[in-house]
């Protein structure tokens, strides 16, 4: 795989004390805000094709050159060796299930010029899948992807602390983590963490329609019912689930970031709120 280059650091923090802001230093962190008085959907993403934004599909792999996916810029697979070590290797098998391909196709349909990468953390069975998922996420954050799509979760409490740290680390490093919420009353992670963008499904058919949920923990609803998605063998199938709402939200985030690359995850989430279909984005 052509290794993705590290994202340039936008702020090093070297000139300021760690956790305080002396009066004389306040000028150094001046933030130029060019948001309009009223943030609209058109200002946020109008005309954007997602160009230049690096999107990681953390999933079952992605079938390369699927007509609905197009070209992949890189693909790796994580695997647990017999010695219990987790290794990252170039992915030569593509998608083992179809799910990662479906997610990649949805992101591509919304953001045709984004740069897609696949990190395969699933497909080798259930045993050890939590540990592989964790390492895959750690690896993806280390690569500095702009958007990481996670249409999966774990229910294992033993992983929640570490996942929480990783989610926060992504948040502070400006990697936007978009994670599938559960539609069953169970505790699972990482979608419950406030540092990620959590996504459930709505039933409407417009891929750009999304709603803000004023009653978290699920924060947004995106298209996830009866979606025509890319599948194995160049095929297309109709599918439903929060797994497919999530890449819709990833695609929308990609469009906004391509137009406004300076945004932090915090600011991006604010724009998502302001432009949600039930807030100000319906017009």
């Amino acid at each position: 795989m052509a290794q993705p280059e590290q994202k340039p650091e936008r702020y090093t923090g070297e000139t300021l004390p760690a956790w305080s802001l002396p009066a004389a230093a306040s000028e150094e962190i001046g933030v130029v805000v060019e948001w309009p008085e009223r943030v609209t959907r058109d200002w946020a993403l109008g005309g954007s094709t997602g160009a230049g934004i690096r999107v990681c599909i953390l999933d079952s792999g992605v079938q390369p050159d699927h007509p609905l996916v197009g070209s992949l810029e890189g693909a790796v697979a994580l695997r647990k060796t017999e010695e219990g070590e987790i290794v990252v290797e170039d992915d030569t098998e593509g998608d083992l299930c179809g799910h990662g391909t479906a997610c990649a196709g949805i992101v591509r349909s919304l953001a045709p010029d984004c740069r897609l990468f696949s990190v395969r953390v699933l497909g080798a069975g259930f045993k050890g899948s939590g540990a592989v998922l964790l390492e895959g996420l750690r690896w993806a954050i280390g690569q500095g992807f702009d958007v990481i799509n996670m249409s999966l979760s774990t229910t294992k409490k033993q992983f929640s602390g570490l996942l929480h740290e990783l989610a926060d680390s992504a948040y502070f490093r400006r990697s936007v983590l978009v994670a599938s919420a559960h539609n069953m009353p169970v505790e699972s992670y990482p979608w419950r963490f406030s540092s990620v963008i959590s996504v459930g499904s709505h039933e409407e058919q417009d891929p750009r329609t999304f709603f803000y949920n004023p009653s978290p923990p699920v924060e947004f609803f995106a298209r996830g019912v009866n979606v025509d998605v890319a599948w194995l063998g160049g095929a297309k199938i109709r599918s439903s689930g929060n797994s497919f709402a999530t890449p819709h939200m990833s695609g929308i985030c990609t469009l906004i970031l391509a137009k406004h690359p300076e945004l932090t995850p915090f600011q991006l989430k604010s724009i998502l709120y302001l432009t949600a279909s039930n807030v100000g984005g319906a017009e």
Partner: protein, 217 residues
């Protein structure tokens, strides 16, 4: 023998037999199949030791021969659902030849549509509930997804009971006659009618007092 094992062993005596838990699972797949007007419904248990999915209950197509059949947990849509803990609904499966072949090999039946939901209990993923070829007269909706989730909760509780009963029976089998005798007494007590039970309970209560008494003979 630890307290936990003893408790498990005694529980085995008072809890209903495995066949009754199986009947509960069977009832769940039958109802799921009927509610969704589906061709078939099935419940898989994840065998942690072998990392395989095992058919525990099947209603409809293939129901005669599939119970007990195993396949790797990395296989197909059910495997995906187990690992991701995310429900998945797929239509037009015939467009996916690889899936069709895998499914045909494992079930002898190739569905066109599949609803698959993980069976989650506490923090464990116990297995998967599949509903095949639901009626296509009504387009899939979030209401159906919610219904599927409700069935999944019920199935997860039933699977948990089945696993506990099996574990308890395994403990009983391994632990020799002491716990077995206690379990047999507990089971026999359950079967007695009111009149017979009362004197036996008095006797057991007296025995309990003697065992708890801080005296030595």
């Amino acid at each position: 023998m630890s307290d936990n094992e003893l408790r498990a062993a005694v529980s085995a005596g008072v809890m209903s037999a495995e066949s009754e838990h199986r009947a509960l699972l069977q009832s769940i797949v039958e109802v799921a199949r009927a509610i969704f007007s589906a061709k078939a419904a099935s419940i898989f248990l994840h065998d942690e030791e072998t990392d395989e999915l095992v058919f525990e209950a099947v209603a409809g197509e293939g129901s005669d021969s599939l119970v007990g059949t195993r396949f790797p947990s990395s296989t197909g849509v059910a495997g995906w659902v187990l690992v991701t803990r995310q429900p998945l609904v797929i239509d037009d499966l015939e467009q996916d030849p690889r899936h069709a072949r895998e499914t045909a090999e494992s079930t002898g039946y190739v569905p066109r549509a599949m609803m698959s939901v993980p069976l989650l209990h506490d923090e464990r993923a116990l297995g998967v509930l599949n509903v095949l070829d639901r009626s296509q007269e009504v387009e899939f909706s979030l209401g159906q997804m919610e219904l599927l989730g409700l069935f999944a909760n019920q199935a997860a509780i039933a699977l948990d009971l089945l696993q506990r009963a099996r574990h308890a029976q395994a403990v009983l089998t391994q632990s020799g006659s002491d716990a077995g005798a206690i379990a047999r007494i507990a089971a026999a007590l359950e079967d007695l009618d009111e009149e017979q039970r009362e004197p036996v309970l008095r006797l057991l209560s007296a025995l309990d007092d003697v065992l708890r008494a801080d005296v030595s003979f």
